[in-house]
Subunit: 76 residues, 2 copies
Amino acid sequence: MREIPKAVAERIIRNAGNKSVRVSDGAVVKMAEWLEKVGTEISKDAIDMAEHAGRKTVKETDIEWVTEHSFTMVKR
Amino acid sequence: MREIPKAVAERIIRNAGNKSVRVSDGAVVKMAEWLEKVGTEISKDAIDMAEHAGRKTVKETDIEWVTEHSFTMVKR
């Protein structure tokens, strides 16, 4: 774990708002951890898909398929 | 856009599998773009929540609330 640098997670949050937005360290850590967690879940499924297709290489279409059909973001 | 380095996205995919996994460049780019897209959506909601609460600072609980209640990952 801890692959996503805090500076990266902080910029993603800041870029989503205006210049006056302040971001706590806890929020930055939470965002980095969450992104890594869902990225890992998607990757597991994408690797399974590639293996199922008899490939050793994970392709763009594997990631695409998983994020669009298998493990998706839902706005409630 | 393009806040998440390709090396970071690639490690997230690799860490999810075993050593023999190969990852195409397209898969890495797709993962980086997708993570940034959902991270941005979550950030927008978290910023709205902080503002709604009369705060200028986005806190850990804002990110937590959005990822758990508002904008969540669903395994189909």
